[in-house]
Structure formats: structure tokens, C-alpha cells
Subunit: 258 residues, 6 copies
Amino acid sequence: MPVAPVEHGMAPGLERNGEQMAGSMAVVSAHAADFVWRAGGTIAKYVRHGWDVNVVIMSLGVRGESASLWRTEGQTYEEVARIRREEATRAAEVLGCRLHFFDLVDYPMEITPEVMDRLVRFFREVRPSIILTHGHKDPFNPDHPVVHKATVEARLLAGAAGVMPEIPPIAPPRLFGFEPHQTEMSEFKPEILVDITADFETKLKAMQCVPTQTYLIEFHRQLAEARGYHARRNGQSRDVKYAEAFQSYVPIVTDMLP
Amino acid sequence: MPVAPVEHGMAPGLERNGEQMAGSMAVVSAHAADFVWRAGGTIAKYVRHGWDVNVVIMSLGVRGESASLWRTEGQTYEEVARIRREEATRAAEVLGCRLHFFDLVDYPMEITPEVMDRLVRFFREVRPSIILTHGHKDPFNPDHPVVHKATVEARLLAGAAGVMPEIPPIAPPRLFGFEPHQTEMSEFKPEILVDITADFETKLKAMQCVPTQTYLIEFHRQLAEARGYHARRNGQSRDVKYAEAFQSYVPIVTDMLP
Amino acid sequence: MPVAPVEHGMAPGLERNGEQMAGSMAVVSAHAADFVWRAGGTIAKYVRHGWDVNVVIMSLGVRGESASLWRTEGQTYEEVARIRREEATRAAEVLGCRLHFFDLVDYPMEITPEVMDRLVRFFREVRPSIILTHGHKDPFNPDHPVVHKATVEARLLAGAAGVMPEIPPIAPPRLFGFEPHQTEMSEFKPEILVDITADFETKLKAMQCVPTQTYLIEFHRQLAEARGYHARRNGQSRDVKYAEAFQSYVPIVTDMLP
Amino acid sequence: MPVAPVEHGMAPGLERNGEQMAGSMAVVSAHAADFVWRAGGTIAKYVRHGWDVNVVIMSLGVRGESASLWRTEGQTYEEVARIRREEATRAAEVLGCRLHFFDLVDYPMEITPEVMDRLVRFFREVRPSIILTHGHKDPFNPDHPVVHKATVEARLLAGAAGVMPEIPPIAPPRLFGFEPHQTEMSEFKPEILVDITADFETKLKAMQCVPTQTYLIEFHRQLAEARGYHARRNGQSRDVKYAEAFQSYVPIVTDMLP
Amino acid sequence: MPVAPVEHGMAPGLERNGEQMAGSMAVVSAHAADFVWRAGGTIAKYVRHGWDVNVVIMSLGVRGESASLWRTEGQTYEEVARIRREEATRAAEVLGCRLHFFDLVDYPMEITPEVMDRLVRFFREVRPSIILTHGHKDPFNPDHPVVHKATVEARLLAGAAGVMPEIPPIAPPRLFGFEPHQTEMSEFKPEILVDITADFETKLKAMQCVPTQTYLIEFHRQLAEARGYHARRNGQSRDVKYAEAFQSYVPIVTDMLP
Amino acid sequence: MPVAPVEHGMAPGLERNGEQMAGSMAVVSAHAADFVWRAGGTIAKYVRHGWDVNVVIMSLGVRGESASLWRTEGQTYEEVARIRREEATRAAEVLGCRLHFFDLVDYPMEITPEVMDRLVRFFREVRPSIILTHGHKDPFNPDHPVVHKATVEARLLAGAAGVMPEIPPIAPPRLFGFEPHQTEMSEFKPEILVDITADFETKLKAMQCVPTQTYLIEFHRQLAEARGYHARRNGQSRDVKYAEAFQSYVPIVTDMLP
């Protein structure tokens, strides 16, 4: 099924390695592998449809999301960082997206003016029509809401004419939030269920590139299955086996009802 | 632009007067003209794209929404009903949708088991993939939340195998709420902005068929313009001049992000 | 201090026993003494300023709010009803308001079409510019939300031209909710704190007319004191000693900010 | 581990077949098997600790929750009812609780004054210190919120002295809501995670007594596993493998923090 | 109509140029013209009634709210700032309020301890009984919530005895939020509708002093008209033609119900 | 009544002065006496049951919560600090808990990376199974939400393996919020009512050690009484005379329902 970027009002003209791209998606991931667990199927699907998908890795999650590696005697920040970067890189190769490492320290994460500038510049460069990132609240993770807030702010700044006047501002991209681990306490609403049945194998392969958090593979397999069940209960098709859930943060402007 | 019903997983096969329809939409309107003010542009657009749009008129709004007619000396329920029915009929002709009058009394409106049965049967017959109706709360109208609740319930009953086992149950249609008059007090969120620029002239003509509430024509013209402004502020295109806003009541199962 | 009803845009002309009234307030009380505990100070103040205050007593609270009387051996519904009616009557005399007994059964309370008609007619007759009643939620009382819903609906019907066309409809009165017993679980917000310092003695006397719920006198004395403390913490004056809290249910149309 | 009912301030003295019971729990289940899927582990645990657990089955779920049975040619309401009653009975035997069939029609369910009376009488008879039932909202099931509302109301009426004065009123039981299928859209909060690891086998056996909804067995096995994961992430113990989640509807009065 | 500041418990004694003022209002505006679009009518009215209205302009909105000026080739921050300052100054002259420029950079805006000190000192000096500022949330503007938070904090610090002990603390002013552009996504509730019919011409003239955002003039004219319509639907008077909406952030302490 | 720490899955082994402790509780108090007013009864009870209770005093509340002391001519920050520290110390002696002064400046309070480190280290050292602190919102106090946020973050960091790898991370403690002064505007829910009847005398004595805020003693006595009333209305026992209310911020993992 061809994807019609013109439906989103996006001016065609994107190019990558001389090839015309169908559209541009940006993903902002707090830690090394968030983009894999939470949006891997959707990313794989958009890549398959010819989109240019660029992922910012804000931090490598060395301090807060690498518990298994710290069990090694004499473990160091640098070694954990090296391993997590390799995992993320391999997973991105499987999914077909490009990574941009911002190398912040995690747990907690600080968004300095320089980081904000870099994020704004990133949005101005990849000019996405869709942004995916973490949700606004997560009582179980100190960094996810920080990244949400930074992304929301950078998206607004990227659209303001007087900010970095040397690069043209972007039109407002749609903004969707990932499903967090404890949805109900995080005020997450699964407003959109993306059918990832055809791309689930790819997601599974990408997840298997992240042995540091190996216990999450089965967790996210079951989650995709549960969301697939919800998709069958909420939609017209009985064929959805796996799905990823997202929350929409801005009004969706559309030609026909979604 | 062709509409691809297959995107919604809807089995093709709808027919009307021997002609294949692109899809089926059901609208449940509390009073005679709610479907015109609140969804006229969207209805016109779907009709233009070949959809079969069926509208239930729960009541004619004789008691609660016909104030101007009651200024006539010696006015009667029957006469007001006659006028409102004619207005609705003319507006529907302009929009191209079919009306189904349930003829309940309004202000307040009572949903008896018979009414519920009739609504379930209606959904089983038109088999919509999309339902539009009022939102869940409206502190300024006693009937709108009643109709919302009835529609939600009928949608669920229409999908239950053991209810009216003689007619096959339907797959769960998507469910969207109209924009009410005082949005903020009604907990309305304009989650979806449908571009109705190309169909606004048709909506305007349909609104002009309803002189009983003539003051609403300018109100809804300005509202469509304000929503068009919001659409330009939220989307990729600068060309949206008029829009209608909807709230989504069930998770949207989708192939690509909306 | 003179009360300026013209500030509320209310056409003067109210009369009672040949005397011009400053304004009209309606109170809808689920049980015999709710109007005393929850709004006694405010009622006394409005009466003192020359307003006509009419209170509907929906039920006498025989089943749900008269526990102490049921400890008497051989107690009957009729006897409890007689006692509660007398208490309410005496309290109303102290406050200076008029009572209208609807004599419904409580716990649970059913709003039949006849009750709704009677409430609409009541509003059309006393033509209030302010209505006080219970809030929208109360997990500890089955009747309070029922009365709230009935009052909201009757207020809307009373303003609709085609309902009881033989009596002219009313302009929309402001609508405030009483403070319930367990505020936080009842979604009550103390948006308005009315200074009842000058009328607290009258409220106390009225409360003392209700020995059936004698334990509530001290409870509400302490509550008025706590709300007085909040008033001093939120306002410009240090002289508020007692206050009653209310929630506003409709936008307040005003000449100057309140 | 002994259960100390005195902690809940419950007067001992419960008896069943001449045996002293540790406490009394009431469960109100909308359909035939809701109590199994949603609270089977917790019920089994309380029974194991000597509690008397009584379950009201409001309806058999013939119309709305028996889709697989309606695929049989010539199926009847009576036959479906017979099968569902047998399944529920067998599951209850496994769990060790007692069933009380109210035999209402489902989809939709109507709570008449007679049903309310019966539910109040039930609470007065079993005198529970804990009640479990459905949550307040469920956009995917028309009956669950109806049963929630009825249970809340019956709980209040059962505590009112003037209602059925011939049976003494009960002290207010704690009230917990089951986990629904689509938690986030149902405003469910997993406030309490009960460790059911030791009773999961029993729950599994009980679920296997309900072949009509066989697909739910694996769904609820995975759910108990996911909630076990959340319990490990939220608690002091690493040994929780399976858990059931509940929402608390009234303030919890307690000796030490839970 | 005379304004009675004593109603608000405010000690009289305010003076400006030797003239007694009826009261003191403070307005905190994130960008150059926010006070005009969002509260121009209300400011004009209070000025007309003899109040001293002081407006803090936190930033000139050079980066985020001056898009039209940046279309000029070779545009600079300083030139845009100069133009915006002139526009604000002219509009304030029309409205009759005094401006206090804080000259922060916008998009994003940082509240340093020095800025907080200055804001606290400002409140201690003008000693307002009413403060107007932006609301707590605005997904479409990064600075508005920052200014809201700063104002809330400064209002509390201004009332604390041990902060700047050399200037006496103030009594807690009432606090109202402006109407933002996308109300429903910003959790704005139009709780108070101020009738600005008599002052609308003045507001219009003030808006016309701000050609940089010329498209907002018609937008806010239509908005004032829509809020006027809501005022007629919610109040006792049919004569309100234009209104401004505000949200109340602290309990309103009052003599009579508003 | 013996307290069974094993119920909370906490590994026994806590020691203080060579004595085995029943459990460990941490309290984070924004100002000098918050822990007394808001949790004094609960602290006294846990101490009585053999728990080790450690309280962090983030600031002495010199600027924001010592108004009465600033009435003294020539008052200084140091003198107020000295007095508040003495009051807190005496109150802690009465309650039996240990204090840890962080000596931050209040009104406003800034959480630097060093403060966060210190708080994380504190949690790693006392290894609590329960944490008490302020709630997430308080429109009347600028510091309480800051302390809430800091505590939530420190609790998460304290559990992360890669943060301060030289000290072992802790298992996730339960997290409860204090009752604030204006509950309804602070989104406080009294989810847990702890019976402090047996410890109220101790709390009263502790409160009397804080003459700087002497007016709060009667306020909190009445509050404990009102919460006692709510406890009787919500629980199985009639003997609760005084209670303290808390809000739960994380799912409660439990053996039996609380």
C-alpha cells in the first residue's frame, strides 16, 4: 500500500542519498533503547514505506536503565555507554532509521540551553511532519517527562520565525506519545493503535539487539499482542495480531476522519 | 481524491439504488438540525466521496430548540414539528444524506427499551464504520448527553451476538463526538479537525434551510473559520479555510498514524 | 450595605406581601435540613438584604438521614416525617425563607416526570436569579447527585420556550453547589467563600432547631470556622470569622471581576 | 499467615456450617464469569484464609458475553443460560465461594427497585467488611457501570437506619473495583496490587471451567503476569509472580499504612 | 456605576499623581501585546472606574510572536524589539494603564532569581487586589505557562513576611487567568465572563495599535462576540454584546455571591 | 499490637543503637514543622511500634513560615533559623524520630544537583520501606510541590543501579503524601485514614513545641477530629476519634486488601 504524504499536506522534495523519501519522521528517545521497545514496529513500517526516520538518543541510559551491566565487578560509565551505544546502533540498522546521539547524562537528565538549541536545529534540519516521543507523565521514570517537555518546547521553537532566523521555521508536526510501562499511573491514553502485524518480526529482531534489557523482549511481545487484541475489539478488521499504542498531543488536522 | 475504505478494514459491498457505496456513516442527531450545524461539512464531504450517510433525528426539538416559532400566538406542538421536519428534510437534501425520524419528545428526552431496540436495529442495518453523535456532557442542553449515552449503548448492543440474534452483529464502528456550543464546560476536546473548505458552501446552503435558528448560521460560520485558523496552526497545510472539530471516543485502529 | 440587584441584570419588580423584594433565590434541598447545614448563613444574609428565598425540600430524609429517631422502639415512617417537617419549618422561620415540601421518598430518590414538571413550574414561579443545590457527585449519599441532576435539568427546561408554553420561560439563573461532607471524594471545589460572620448567630439558631442530627451542629460550626480561616488566607480582609463555601456550575456573567 | 480481621475493626462472630469464619467478603459480578477473570485469585486467597466469600451473579451474560455459544444453529436464551450457570457454579466450587444468582437480563441491564431491595438485603445478610465489584466506567461494556452504580447505592442504603428497619444496618464496607479490559479508557487506576502467586493455580483451574470465553484464559494469565511485574517494580519483594489489580473507591481506614 | 473597592475588603488610600485611585490591578503579560488581546476590555473598564492598572511586559515577544517582522530582509532583534515596544506603549496609552518592561528574552523564557525578586518587588509596590495573567497550560506557547508559574510564585512570596522584610507583605490578591488561543487543549475554563460592551471600542482601538499581529484583531473581535453570545446564554441580561473570559485560580472571598 | 514488617516484604536486620528496629520510615518535610502538623500522629505510632523514623528538614521555613517572629523589631534570618531549629528538635524528641537538617533557603526553594545527591544518599542509608512527604500540588505554598518533586525523583534515583554505584540501590518504598491546608485546590485525596487516637496526646505535645505557628495547633486538632469523623463514616469501627489523612502515590503491593 503506497503512503500518500500529500495527504498530510507535506511538500514533497525530501531526499536521502539521492533518493526521494516519502516523508520525514522524528523520534526523540530518552535512553538508548526506548525507540525500540515503544515504537520499533511503527518505525519499521514507516521506513518500509519510504520515510526518512531520524531518532535522537538523548542519553545512553547508563545510570538508570542498565542495571544488568552494573552487576559486573568494576563496571565503569564509559564501558556501559559503549555497550548501550552498540546495541542502539544495531537495533537502528535492523529498523532502518538513523540515530543522532546527544550523549546527555541520565537519571536525572538536564536540558541546558545548548541541548534545546541542538534539538531545535535537529527539527529544522529533518523537518518532520510527525514527531514521536515520551508522554507527559511517568511516575516511574525521572527522565521521560523531561524529554517530553523538551520535545514539546523544541517543536514550538522550531516553528518560531525569530528563533535561529538563519534557518527557515518548520510547519507544526503532529506529536504522538509512546506507551509507557505503567500506563494508568502515567495518564497515558491509547488513542491510536497502529497495526504492526507485518512489521512485528522486524521489531522482534531489533529488540533482540538489546540484551542489556533482555527481560523487556517478552514483556513487549505480550504488550504488542494485548494491543492487537484491543485493536480487534475496537476496529473493523479481525486480522490485526500486533499493535503499538500512541497518545496524540495536538489536534489532528485531516482530510477524512482517521 | 479517492477515498480508500479498505484502509479502515471495511469489507466493500455496500450498495444503494444498485450503486456501490464507498462506505457507511451513521449520524445520531438529538434534534432536528444538530447534524447540520455540527457535522454538515463532514457529511457533505463523505457523501461527495461516495459514502452512504444515514442520520437519525431522535426528536424534532419542538420544545427546546424552536424558541422563535413559539413567539407566534396560538402556536402548537404539531405545527412546530411540521416546520422543523421540513427544514431538516431540505437540509438533508442539500447535504445528500438520508434521514430517519424517531420522533421522540425533547426537553427532556426519554430512551425507552423500544427506542434502544430501534437504534440497535438501525446500526445493524446501515452497518456503519463511523458513527457521529453528541459528546458525553453538555451543561447547557439536557438532551445531548442522553443521546450520547444511548448511542454508546446501542453501538455496544449492535456488536453483541446474543442481542437480536436474527441479524448478524456489526464490527465496532469508530465513534466521534460533535463540537458543542460551550466546549470548555462540556469537556470537549477538538482532537480531530476535518478540513471542510471544499464543502463549506454546501454546508452554508444546508444551514440556510433552517430559518428557525437563523442566528446560528453566522455563529457556525465564524466557528468553522476559527477551527480553520486552528487547523492552520496545527497542521502542515496553509490552505485550510474552514474546519469542523470532533472528539474521538474509542481508540482509533489505523494502518499509518493519522 | 445595600445589595444592588441591578448588578445581576435582574429586572426589579419582585413583590411579596405587597413589599418590593431585592431579588429572588431558589434553594433545592434533598432532605429536611440540608439547606440549614450547607447554606443557612448565606440564606440568612440574602433574606436580611431583602431577597425572597424559596427552598424546595425534596424529601424529609426519613429513611436515610434520621438514624437517631429510628432507635425508638416501634418507630414509623409517618412519625419520623412529622418530626423532620417540624424541624425544617422552625429552622426556616429562623432564617426567614419559605419552604416548599415535595415529599418524595428518600434513599433512593426517584425523579418522575411529575416531579420534574413541578420543579420546572417552581422555577418559573419564583423566577430566581440564583439557584443553590447539591453538587454533582457524593459517594456517601445516594440522593444528593440525583437532586443535582434534577435541578440542572429543571433549570434548563424552565428556560425553554416550548416547555409549558403557558408560563413565560426564565432567564438562566446562576447555579451554585453546596459543600458536601467529604469534599475531596465528591470533586467539590470551594470556588466561592461567602463571608457569613454577621449571620452566623442566625445560622447557629437555625441549626439548633434540628435536634435529630444534633452531632452536625458542632461539625458545621467547626467547618464554618475552617472556611473563615481559608477566607482570611485567600482574601483582602482579616475580619472574616465564618464562611460558607460554594462551587459554581455555570459561567458567571459579571460587570466587574468578582 | 493468619489473617487478623480485628485489624479491620470487624466484630468476630461470623459462622458458616457451625464453623467460625475469619471475615466476610461480598463480590458483585455483572455476568456469569466476571468474578473469575477479575478477582479469582483474590477470592481464592480469602477463602483459603477462612473468609466467607459470597458472590452475586447479576446476570448470566447470555446476550452480551456468550458469543461463541450463539454460533450454534438454533441456539436459545435458555440453553445459553443453562451452560453459563454451570460454568459459574463449577468455577465457584474451585474457588470456594458461594454464588447468588439474580438472573437479570444483560445487554442492557435494568436495576429495578426490586433488584435494589434484593441487593440491599443481601448486604445486610452477609454483612461484608469488603465489597468487590466493577469500576465506574467502561466504554466497552454497557452493564459494568450499571452494576457499579447499583452496588454503590446498595452499599449506602444497607447502612441507612430507616431503610428496611427490620434488619439492622451494616457498618460501611470497604469498596474496591475490578480491573476492566481496557483500563486507560475506563479511568481504572491499579491502586492496589494483591499478590496472588500462591493462589494462581487455583485461579487457573477456575478459569478453565469457563470454556465459553476460552480466549480469556491466556489473556488473564498474561495480565496476572504483567501485574506481577508491576508489583515487583513497586514493592519490597522480588517474589511476586502473579498479581490482581484493584481500585479503591472509599477512603481506607487503617491502623498502620497499607 | 461607581465601583466599591470596599466590597473587596481593600483598604482605600491608593494615590496616583495626587489623585485617589479606586483600586489597584496588576497584569503580567508574557509578550508585548498579550495584555491587549486577552484583557484589553477589562483593563479599559477598570481604568474607566478609576483603578490604577499596572502591566508587566515580561518580554517583547521578539523571537516567538513577531513573525511578520522577520520577513523583512536583514531584520535584527533590536529593531523588532523597538517596534514591539512602541506598539505596546501606544496600546497602553489607549487603555490607560502603565507598562513595566522586564525585557526578558522569549521563546524560551527563563525566570532567574533576579526576575523573581523584581516581580515580588513589583507586587509589593503596586499592592494589587486583583492580578491577571496567563493560564497554567498552553501546548501552543512555551512562555505562557512559565509566566503563569512565575506569577503564582511571586504572589505567594509577596505575601510572606520573611521575604524582603524591608517592605511590608501584601494581602493575597485574587488571581485570574487570561483566555488562551486553543482553550480546550489548555484546560481553560471560562468561569467568569466580564461584560466589555461599553469598552469594546477602546479595546478595538488598542488592538489597532499592534499591526505586527494584525490578523489577531479580527480573531479577537469574533472571540469577544462569541463570549458575548455565551454571556447572554448564561446570564440575566440580553444586552451583553462583547465579553472577555477569565479563569479563577484562587477561591473568591465575597460578601454576596458573584 | 506487634507490627509485622515481613508483611511489607522488608528484609529484617535494621539496627539502631544495637537494638533491632521493626522497620524504616523516611519523612521529607519542606519546612521546620511540617512533619509535626501533617504526620505527627503517624510518626509517633510507628516509633511506638519500634520503627526507625528519619525526617529530613529541607529548610527551616525562615522566610515563608515564621511570620510571627518577623514582627519583632530588628529580626534576622539567623535568629529565626535558630528558634525554628529548636522547635523542630524538641518536637522530634517528643515524637521519637531523628532529624536531618538540609538547611536550604525557603520561599522559594531550589533543588541543586548537590541537594538531590544528598537526598538520594539519605534514602540509600536509611533504606525506608515507606516515605512520607508533601503532595504534588499546593497553590498556597511555593515549596511543597518542589519538595514533592524532589522526593519522587530521589526515590527513583535511589533505586537505580548506575547512580552512586558504590552504595547498593534500594527496593522501591511506598510513597504517601501529607494532607495540605487547602485540600480541594491542591488535588489532595484522603485515600488513607490512619487512626491516631492512641497517639494523639503525643502529637498534641509535639505541636505545643512549635509556638511560632501556635494558631495551627487548634486548626490541626479540629482537622484530626474531622478526619476521625470521616474514619467512623468510612470504616468498621466506631472508636476512631482522631485520624491523619494521606494520599498514595504509587500502587500498593499487598498480601491482603488493605
